[in-house]
């Protein structure tokens, strides 16, 4: 039952990652080819591809993790037998001595016609036959013991070799899972930078050298002057929460996080409340709560000053995620030791 369930889990994880991969690869195969010409639409296309890539890498990592776990379990499915060699006394000398004594006794009384003595001779012969049986059998027993010792040693060697291979495979799968996670993060960064590059190419924010071919009237007012972020405000404003499935974080692992961001006349304010997983034995405070407030900037990433409930100061960065409903949070404070002073994770819009 457990074995069937494990097979099902591995197959289902593999299928999920294959579907996610196909979906990602089909989303926008010409994205890079169009990068120089797509203009402002490239950002949206990159966001869409980023969302699919995030799904694929999460599925791929899950598949590798499942496979690694399954492989590790199979390695423990064949425990050692631990047969110990049997210690049997060597009775060859004893049996030989008995045979000699019995034969000598038989010879001594062989010619005695006394019926009682002849009965004794018969008894001695039967005893000698039993001893002979023991001597003959002892060789067979020894052979059987040696056969067990040899075959058990061979089987154990084969088992150890196989288990070693399983350990190697498990380690390789774990490394691949880790690399896949890194690749997923790199792809998210790639799509973000592609989107940023496309936007900066389409709408130059500042330039100290006027473009010779552009008529002055054609230059659009810069976002800096109006302090409007290059992405819709909805990418920051609203209620956000830490997802229970497919969560991404760097550093301290959040158990829960809720962020509320409001906007009023070009100024943003809000609160963040989060609880983090502490290392075993760490008796620190796992909760972080702070408020923030500040003017919205013309950049994609928004930075605000924060004040924690404990009075510590710090900064909060809000970075639009790879999909429209994702927001990356990056904060650091100068809180006391024993408190969470840094956090970096992805939130999903409620």
């Amino acid at each position: 039952m457990r074995r069937a369930l494990a097979v099902l889990l591995v197959a289902s994880a593999a299928l999920a990652q294959q579907e996610a991969r196909e979906s990602w690869r089909k989303t926008d195969p010409n994205l890079e080819r169009d990068a120089a010409t797509a203009g402002a639409t490239l950002g949206a296309r990159a966001d869409k591809a980023a969302a699919e890539a995030a799904k694929y890498f999460a599925a791929q990592k899950a598949s590798l993790d499942t496979l690694a776990k399954d492989t590790a379990q199979k390695a423990s499915a064949v425990p050692p037998l631990n047969l110990r060699p049997e210690t049997s006394p060597n009775l060859d000398a004893y049996l030989a001595r008995q045979t000699t004594v019995l034969s000598s006794s038989i010879d001594t009384i062989a010619r005695d016609p006394d019926r009682g003595i002849q009965q004794l001779r018969q008894a001695l012969e039967r005893e000698r036959a039993a001893v002979a049986g023991l001597s003959a059998g002892s060789k067979g027993s020894q052979t059987a013991r040696e056969a067990v010792a040899q075959t058990a040693a061979s089987a154990e060697q084969a088992r150890v070799r196989t288990m070693e291979l399983y350990r190697k495979l498990t380690a390789s799968l774990q490394q691949s899972a880790q690399l896949t996670e890194q690749a997923g993060t790199a792809w998210a960064g790639y799509y973000r930078s592609l989107s940023d590059a496309a936007r900066s190419a389409a709408v130059p924010v500042t330039s100290s050298v006027p473009a010779p071919s552009s008529p002055p009237v054609a230059i659009p007012p810069t976002p800096v002057a109006r302090n409007i972020p290059p992405v819709p405000l909805s990418r920051y404003v609203g209620s956000w929460t830490y997802p229970t499935v497919g969560a991404h974080f760097h550093g301290a692992q959040p158990l829960s996080a809720d962020l509320v961001v409001q906007d009023e006349n070009g100024r943003a304010s809000g609160t963040l409340s989060a609880r983090f997983k502490l290392p075993p034995g760490d008796a620190g405070n796992p909760v972080v709560q702070f408020t923030f407030e500040g003017a919205l900037q013309s950049s994609r990433d928004q930075t605000f000053a924060v004040t924690t409930s404990g009075g510590a100061k710090g900064t909060l960065e809000l970075i639009p995620g790879p999909a429209f409903n994702l927001l990356e949070v990056n904060f650091s404070t100068d809180g006391k030791p024993g408190t969470i002073r840094q956090g970096n994770f992805l939130l999903v819009k409620k």
Binding site: A155, T162, Y166, S172, A186
Partner: protein, 258 residues
């Protein structure tokens, strides 16, 4: 007593089998674990060996009809039976565990044979990923001249391609190891089955050895009775045990006919 022990031996072996099977269901700890059974067998063997080696020196010092002759032989025979039961319990448990291991290996072999294709698929997919990322990187490189800001993303893609290369190498390694694994598992299965046969043979050998010792002590006891009968017929109680002999009348005086 000795013949009674001999008749009891198959039952004792059967009880040992049931005890071993019941113990398998329990955890491999305590008195029914393989090491504990092995310790018990070693202890019974030592006890028997000590009694057996000292039997003849003890009997030599006793008169033929001394009741201690009979009890001494019985004591060693009983110790030999205890040793046989202990060894049977140990090898039964070893056999049961070995069979369970063979079955576990058989299951793993079946699963790995079915998974062989998956390792190859993983490798192919990793290679496809590398090819796709490299193609994306090449496509973006062509745009960098037009939009210099794309140089950053393009570098990121190159670094991702390097990661893909590592992932492809790992997948290749797993595909190779996956093939080796199936071969190793098949070899392990064969080795474990051979060991199983050897254990079964050992079990038979233990039983046969037990019967041989039982036969020897019966013969020794019979000789002791004949010796007693010669000296004092009235004191000899039971007929010899190995092969029932007709009650032997006291031999007639020499020179007379029966």
């Amino acid at each position: 007593m000795v013949p009674a022990v001999r008749r009891r031996l198959p039952w004792l072996a059967l009880i040992a089998c049931f005890a071993a099977a019941a113990a398998l269901r329990a955890q491999d700890t305590g008195t029914n674990s393989l090491p504990a059974l092995q310790d018990a067998a070693a202890k019974r063997t030592a006890e028997w060996s000590s009694l057996n080696t000292s039997l003849e020196p003890r009997l030599v010092r006793l008169l033929p009809c001394d009741p201690r002759v009979r009890t001494s032989v019985e004591e060693v025979a009983k110790a030999a039976d205890s040793r046989t039961v202990a060894l049977t319990s140990y090898w039964n448990m070893a056999s049961i565990r070995s069979k369970a291991q063979v079955e576990a290996i058989r299951g793993v072999v079946a699963r790995e044979e079915a998974r062989g294709e998956d390792w190859s698929k993983n490798r192919t997919q990793a290679e496809q990923e590398l090819a796709a990322t490299s193609a994306q990187s090449a496509a973006l490189k062509a745009s960098v001249q037009q939009v210099p800001a794309l140089a950053g993303p393009q570098k990121t893609l190159e670094s991702i391609a390097a990661t893909d290369q590592l992932l492809a190498a790992q997948a290749q390694g797993r595909a190779t190891d996956g093939g080796l694994l199936v071969a190793d598992l098949r070899e392990l299965l064969t080795s474990a089955q051979t060991r199983q046969s050897a254990i079964d043979e050992q079990l038979k050998s233990v039983s046969a050895e037990g019967q041989r010792w039982s036969a020897y002590y019966a013969a020794r006891q019979a000789r002791a009775q004949v010796e007693c009968f010669i000296i004092n017929p009235a004191a000899a109680t039971a007929p010899p045990a190995v092969r029932p002999l007709a009650p032997a009348p006291r031999p007639n005086p020499t020179g007379t006919k029966p």
